[in-house]
């Protein structure tokens, strides 16, 4: 009898053991989907940063959200990202394969960065450890960024291209050398995030990367991204346009800017409006007199193709970051040169011809202005980050360029959102942690500035 009862309760549907390579693939895929998908990208950050406008059901474009609107990034980040990456780290320690640990730490750092960039204070030190912390405390944003920098250093030390091989890496096809560059590029990104608050720490981080010697992502081919495949593993934006083709169009702000700059990326970023055969953007946040779908430009075919990549850190971004670090005096590099390389890298990323690149870089409006590096870098980085909503929005908050006007019928009394609202479920599931975060950071509102966002 006993044996029969024991045998009846062995679950035949799932495994009690996990494999690090399988966990790795799933963690990358789930988080890239969320990062690039509708809830966080098209339906929120790309609207805030005015790359995209919504032409049907425009509430999100008018900044009307509920506390259920931003639960996706939160739940996927922690429950499909952190938890599985923590498991990889455990398995890596047990199997003495530090490369898995390094890769998992880099990815985990990227996810934590994405979370704190949008929400501010978040559970970090006690996250993803349910046996000890059923109600994880919220860490201050400063502590989260500092922790991430420490984690990335640990990752960098753990990653060894001549060490044990890994599998399941759908970003770099298991190339540890590339992960080392990804780790450094992420350290640079985080260093700049805290640069207004903790310039000395930022300087030390950049110096440590230089001393370590692996360098940053140094070619478009090294860009950290998930290249999607044909359906069902298709790009989430592509998937949305297959089923609801007429909800989103390119923002008027972006198209006007690209047109003014005579930017060769315009034809890549947008299609001509069906009715007028011109590049016409849709104004953000209209509540009435919405343009018909044929009157305004759809996203460029590159971005709605099934195999379009979800870009995590591009070569161009790294060059812009290095330019800014130089301009801030955090490194000894030449800001103007790096800026020019960054613009070129972005154009190259989209296959713009050399002649067009030369012409574009020669135009006065594109030239680097050392008197206002934030404007030069901010304006061009904003264009370069097209489609990469969360990063573009974060950098706009930090650099305050380009100077955007709020949505026409925005609901925030003339403001543009500067953070996500915490998922409403946190109020009931972790009330003390939530209340402490609100007490520390300020009201749980779209308009509360985060620690890194000084101005």
């Amino acid at each position: 009898c006993k044996k029969s009862l024991d045998e009846s309760n062995i679950n035949p549907n799932a495994s009690e053991n996990a494999q690090p390579d399988y966990l790795l693939t799933a963690a990358i895929k789930a988080n890239a989907d969320t990062y690039w998908g509708t809830a966080n990208n098209l339906g929120a950050s790309l609207l805030f940063v005015q790359h995209i406008a919504k032409i049907q059901y425009t509430d999100p474009d008018r900044y009307i959200f509920t506390n259920a609107s931003f639960s996706d990034l939160w739940s996927v980040g922690y429950a499909k990202g952190i938890i599985n990456l923590n498991q990889i780290i455990k398995l890596a320690d047990a199997a003495s394969n530090p490369n898995y640990k390094g890769v998992a730490l880099v990815l985990r750092s990227w996810i934590f960065t994405t979370l704190t960039d949008q929400y501010g204070d978040i559970p970090y030190t006690q996250a993803g450890n349910i046996d000890e912390y059923l109600l994880p405390k919220y860490d201050a944003q400063r502590d989260v960024y500092l922790g991430i920098l420490a984690d990335l250093k640990t990752a960098q030390d753990a990653l060894d291209p001549s060490g044990k091989a890994i599998a399941g890496d759908i970003i770099y096809a298991n190339s540890i050398a590339s992960w080392k560059k990804f780790a450094n590029s992420l350290r640079l990104r985080v260093a700049l995030r805290i640069a207004d608050r903790e310039p000395e720490l930022a300087r030390q981080t950049i110096a440590a990367v230089a001393a370590e010697g692996t360098g940053y992502i140094s070619a478009n081919s090294e860009t950290a991204q998930l290249a999607y495949k044909a359906s069902p593993n298709q790009n989430p934006i592509s998937n949305l346009f297959d089923t609801r083709p007429d909800e989103y169009r390119v923002s008027k702000t972006l198209i006007d800017q690209l047109t003014a700059l005579n930017d060769p990326r315009l034809a890549i970023y947008a299609q001509k409006a069906v009715a007028t055969q011109t590049y016409t953007g849709a104004a953000n946040g209209l509540s009435a007199n919405l343009p018909g779908k044929d009157q305004v430009s759809k996203l460029g075919t590159y971005f709605i193709a099934p195999t379009a990549p979800a870009v995590i850190i591009s070569y161009a971004e790294v060059l812009f970051d290095r330019a800014e670090a130089a301009a801030r005096g955090l490194s000894g590099e030449n800001a103007a040169t790096l800026y020019s390389q960054a613009v070129e890298a972005s154009l190259t990323q989209y296959g713009v011809s050399t002649a067009d690149i030369t012409a574009y870089k020669a135009s006065a409006a594109v030239q680097y202005n050392s008197a206002n590096y934030k404007k030069s870098i901010g304006d061009q980085k904003w264009i370069a980050l097209y489609g990469q909503g969360l990063e573009a929005w974060t950098e706009w908050r930090r650099l305050d360029y380009p100077q955007l006007s709020p949505a026409v019928a925005g609901a925030l009394n003339g403001a543009i959102p500067v953070r996500y609202i915490y998922p409403g479920t946190e109020q009931s599931l972790n009330p003390n942690g939530y209340k402490a975060a609100v007490a520390h950071q300020g009201a749980d509102a779209l308009t509360t500035k985060l620690w890194f966002d000084v101005n």
Partner: protein
């Protein structure tokens, strides 16, 4: 004592006809027999023995044997939920109701068969105190039944169903929304609806754990015992024929406005229905006035045609449903063998176009006396239910019915949509979000086929006088296959899809039992029972989806563009049990009942696997004990009891596992299960105390039955939601205490009783109050269900089923705060908006019998509780409801305003109606001012458009939470039994005709636009309505013939 030979005939009081199959036995002995087809019996007994005569449905009698009285003429009276009736109790043992220490209530075959509900559960609505039935949405789908409130926070709260001793499954399998939202959005009927009402002799409701302790784990929420009709004592040719035709029509539709059509800001012009024209991608009715102005529309090929209302455009989409039921049953019996074989065919065409289902049911029952001591009983029921298309419910674009009609243009002529579809044109009034509703109904279908076999074999051996052994094995097996087709060209699913989802369920119960009955002395007698049961149940699911078809119109899994998405699982559970019960009777007025059971369940960890639970109850018949013989007080009984029931977990809840999903580019994907499981689970425990009394006055012309109970459920197995920051979505714990207290009253009155005319009134009332006392640690709430931002919670300190959602922000004096833009402020944190459970339920049945005509009328009430209405919320947002008319236009009290410089992002300025605006700006007449105050306390005066006004209110869930109170005219039955002299000549034994109306009228309700009795499914997340199908009114005609 001297042995005497007794013989007699037993007849029915009301009709004077002989009653076959009545059990006649010597009390305390093994001597017993049954009446034959002519109602006659004979047996030997000793002088001064007590002869017990009982039959289910009649009041039992006891007769003392004297040598001078050996030929008995016994008249049995049909029991009316009354006092000395015999009822079926746990383990299918018939007992006199007076000996029971707990409440039990029974429904008779004619109550069940005549009402002819498609879903059997609905037959119980309003008739039994303490039983809450929530009818299906639409005319198909699931119905939920709850007895004495919800006792389990997260588990199944529906009672266990037992047919002739065999537990049968009633678990609604909803489909896996992770695989396909469309197949999961259907409301599949709960499996007990497979049972043919014509086969049911009686349904006994055992209301609490007190009644059900012997069934163990699954009986904590009560038991519904179904006894099927048998062949025993059948007369004549033994053929009975039933035929029923029922028509269904919509009971309610929302009250729509017919003044404004599709569009936004009063503007609309159709080009492609997808945003190519002027607001023609908008699926709302904030467009131009329906005044016949000329506008290009979906059916006009770009030509401007009159823009007018079609007030019945939703109503005309629906059909009159009809259900045919035809059945025949054969039965026969002799001394050694009896049988009954029945066949029934049900064929339903639903109210929604192209929805239909049918059912074929065969039931074979037999009893064979192999030797005088050994009897074999068998039972086999085969049911084939198949639905070509189950109507779509809820908010899925590719399949839903009410979604499209709530996001709608009020000018749309649905008959034009029908002709467009019939002409092969998938053109719709809106092509941004929807396909033509007829295309959806005819092309996007969900078919379901369930094949079910329930069977049992039972051997009964009389070992010696008073001791018998019983062995039974029963099995319930079904396969349930669903095929979901989405056609090429469906909006949102351009390549269509095809899904096959199959479930196989099997449960076997094998039971051995010893029954011992002994008359201890002249006062005491004892019944003891000892037994063991082995239960094995398995459920297997195999779900495959071709998410994009390669070619149109071919529905097969290999016709796929993408790799198939697959999902499967298999669960197995074993429970071993030992149980015992004893009844000690003193004379015939005091009874003490004890039960004990121990289960060993495979789903719990080894150290907690075994759990024991006892119960005790007793009853005392005061009128007999104190020899009160008066015309005023006929009967008085006191009863009371205490019981405990343990409950195990579902399978595989002990070890954390890692699941797999389809590979990415050749890389398998694995992830941690989102539930943190628990290796130390303990069984759940429910403890219940109940007490009650039954009184009969004036020869039972006045009958009163009252119960009070108090149930505490502790150590609940909860999959508690946790913050995702823990890495998990939920954690499995033992925790949580929920208390249910309640009272149940039944009052029966027979105001008139003459030879020809009887008037009976039976009322029932019940009230249950629940309170969640604790959950786990600091966790304060558990989510039972949600819809958008509304959640249904079990929250500490609150009643079960608290509705929790967004609300208006208010100041200290309760006034709603309004933003600078003139719209109400929605509170940052959610608030408790009510609870879904009712305060009380009641039903009143008036029955009139005049000679051969009987009429009964049932009215039932559900009072208290709240419901969140998604139909109202969406319909207000989209402006289709009549409730959005106030303020729309001067004639509806709208204020006039203009935007300076026609800049409609600027602040609107009010002007007097009819005057012109400065600078020739356009004047609008749909201005409204939200009644509230600004942050500084001054009254809001900002004028906004009606659409802004109404849309802003829908952000507060509070605005569409309503009282769920209703009173319904649930049932009217009118029957006529043809006189014997008419039918004898054609060989008939009896013939009855009847007309039955069900759900005829909502006499009173407080929620606008919907029927408050509505459910998505049978789960615990009730109190939510969202675009559910309107309920139906049924009128049926029955003919029953017996040859």
């Amino acid at each position: 004592a001297q042995s005497v030979k007794i013989s007699g005939v037993i007849t029915e009081k009301a009709t004077g006809q002989a009653i076959p199959g009545v059990s006649v036995s010597v009390k305390g002995g093994s001597n017993g027999t049954q009446t034959n087809a002519d109602g006659k019996f004979s047996l030997s007994a000793n002088e001064n023995d007590i002869l017990r005569i009982f039959s289910i449905g009649y009041n039992a009698q006891e007769i003392k044997i004297t040598s001078g009285n050996t030929t008995l003429n016994i008249i049995l009276e049909e029991s009316q939920n009354a006092l000395s009736e015999v009822v079926v109790t746990a383990l299918n043992i018939p007992k006199e109701k007076k000996s029971l220490g707990y409440a039990v209530q029974e429904l008779k075959s004619k109550d069940i068969a005549e009402a002819r509900e498609v879903n059997l559960v609905n037959a119980l609505a309003g008739k039994i105190a303490g039983v809450q039935v929530t009818n299906s949405q639409g005319d198909m789908g699931s119905s939920r039944i709850i007895i004495r409130g919800e006792t389990s926070i997260s588990g199944n709260n529906q009672p266990l169903f037992i047919i002739d001793g065999v537990p049968v499954d009633n678990t609604q399998t909803l489909g896996n929304s992770a695989i396909s939202a469309t197949s999961a959005s259907r409301d599949y009927a709960n499996p007990i609806s497979d049972i043919n009402p014509d086969d049911i002799e009686s349904m006994s409701v055992l209301k609490g754990p007190n009644a059900a302790a012997l069934y163990g784990s699954r009986a904590a929420a009560g038991v519904v015992l179904i006894t099927t009709k048998k062949g025993k004592g059948s007369q004549g040719l033994g053929i009975s024929v039933t035929s029923n035709t029922t028509f269904s029509s919509l009971l309610i539709l929302p009250d729509y406005q017919n003044s404004y059509g599709q569009g936004a800001n009063g503007e609309f012009s159709y080009k492609d229905g997808a945003g190519g024209g002027l607001n023609d991608g908008v699926d709302e009715s904030w467009g131009p006035r329906l005044d016949g102005r000329l506008i290009p529309q979906f059916n006009s090929n770009g030509v401007a045609v009159p823009f007018v209302a079609h007030p019945d455009n939703v109503k005309s989409y629906f059909n009159t449903g009809r259900t045919l039921n035809n059945g025949i049953a054969f039965s026969g019996s002799n001394e050694k063998f009896d049988y009954r074989l029945s066949y029934n065919n049900m064929d339903q065409k639903g109210v929604i176009p192209n929805s239909s289902q049918s059912k074929n049911s065969f039931l074979f029952n037999s009893s064979y006396k192999i030797t005088p001591k050994l009897t074999l009983n068998t039972y086999a029921n085969y049911v084939n239910s198949s639905a070509d298309n189950i109507p779509g419910s809820g908010g899925k674009r590719s399949t839903s019915t009410m979604l499209q009609f709530t996001w709608f243009g009020r000018q749309v002529d649905v008959t034009q949509l029908k002709s467009l579809y019939e002409n092969g044109q998938n053109i719709n009034w809106n092509n941004s979000y929807y396909s033509n509703p007829y295309f959806v109904a005819y092309e996007n279908t969900v078919g379901q086929v369930r094949n079910r076999l329930i069977g049992s074999a039972e051997l009964n051996y009389k070992i010696i006088d008073g001791l018998s052994a019983n062995f039974r094995t029963g099995n319930d097996n079904y396969t349930d296959r669903r095929k979901t087709k989405i056609a090429y060209g469906t909006n949102g699913t351009p390549f269509g899809s095809y899904e096959e989802d199959a479930y196989t369920f099997n449960e076997n119960n094998t039971e051995a039992r010893l029954d011992y009955t002994k008359k201890l002395n002249k006062d005491f007698s004892l019944d003891v029972l000892l037994g063991g049961n082995m239960r094995t149940s398995t459920l297997e699911n195999n779900d495959q989806l071709a998410s994009k078809l390669a070619v149109a119109g071919l529905y097969t899994l290999s016709n796929s563009r993408d790799p198939l998405i697959s999902y499967n699982y298999y669960t197995k559970q074993k429970v071993y049990s030992a149980f015992s019960s004893a009844q000690l009777s003193f004379r015939n007025y005091a009874y003490l009942n004890l039960t004990a059971r121990n289960d060993w369940s495979s789903t719990l960890p080894v150290e907690n696997r075994s759990y024991f639970y006892p119960s005790v109850n007793g009853s005392l018949i005061l009128t007999e004990a104190f020899d009160i013989k008066s015309d005023a007080l006929t009967f008085a009984k006191l009863r009371g009891g205490w019981s405990k029931v343990g409950k195990d977990a579902t399978p595989y809840q002990l070890m954390n596992t890692y699941g797999f999903i389809a590979p990415f580019d050749g890389n398998p994907q694995q992830y941690a299960n989102p539930v943190d499981l628990n290796a130390n689970l303990k069984p759940e425990t429910t403890k219940s105390t109940e007490a009650g009394f039954e009184l009969g006055f004036f020869k039972n012309r006045l009958r009163f039955d009252a119960s009070v109970y108090n149930t505490n459920s502790i150590n609940q197995i909860l999959s508690l939601d946790v913050s995702p920051t823990t890495g998990y979505s939920s954690k499995l714990v033992n925790g949580g205490t929920i208390n249910n207290k309640g009272v149940e009253l039944q009052l029966g009155i027979t105001p008139i009783k003459t030879t020809n005319f009887t008037w009976d009134i039976n009322t029932n009332f019940s009230s249950n109050k629940s309170r969640v006392k604790s959950l786990y640690g600091d966790i304060q709430s558990y989510v039972l269900g949600s819809d958008g931002t509304v959640q249904i919670l079990a929250a500490v300190g609150q009643p079960y089923g608290t509705i929790f959602g967004t609300a208006y922000e208010r100041n200290a004096s309760g006034q709603i705060l309004v933003d600078a833009d003139g719209t109400p402020v929605i509170s940052a944190s959610k608030k408790v908006l009510g609870k879904y459970t009712p305060n009380w339920l009641g039903g009143i049945t008036n029955s009139f019998t005049y000679k051969r005509i009987n009429l009964s009328v049932l009215v039932d009430a559900h009072v208290g509780g709240k419901i969140y209405s998604g139909t109202n919320n969406t319909g207000i947002y989209t402006g289709v409801l009549a409730s959005t008319l106030p303020g729309r236009g001067t004639e509806n009290g709208g204020l006039s305003y203009y935007f300076p410089g026609n800049d409609n992002t600027a602040r609107a300025v009010q002007i007097a109606a009819g005057s012109a605006a400065p600078g020739g700006a356009k004047v609008y007449d749909d201005g409204m001012v939200f009644n509230g105050v600004l942050a500084d306390g001054t009254a809001n005066s900002r004028i906004i458009s009606a659409s802004q006004y109404y849309k802003s209110t829908t952000n507060a869930d509070e605005s569409t939470v309503y009282s769920a109170t209703y009173v319904k005219l649930r049932e009217i039955k009118l029957g006529y039994t043809l006189p014997q002299q008419w039918i004898k000549s054609v060989g008939l034994q009896s013939a009855t005709v009847s007309v039955v109306g069900r759900n005829l009228l909502i006499i009173h309700k407080e929620v606008p636009n919907i029927d408050p009795e509505t459910a998505f499914n049978t789960g615990n997340g009730q109190g939510l309505e969202d675009l559910t199908l309107p309920g139906v009114r049924n009128i049926g005609f029955n003919i029953n013939l017996k040859f």
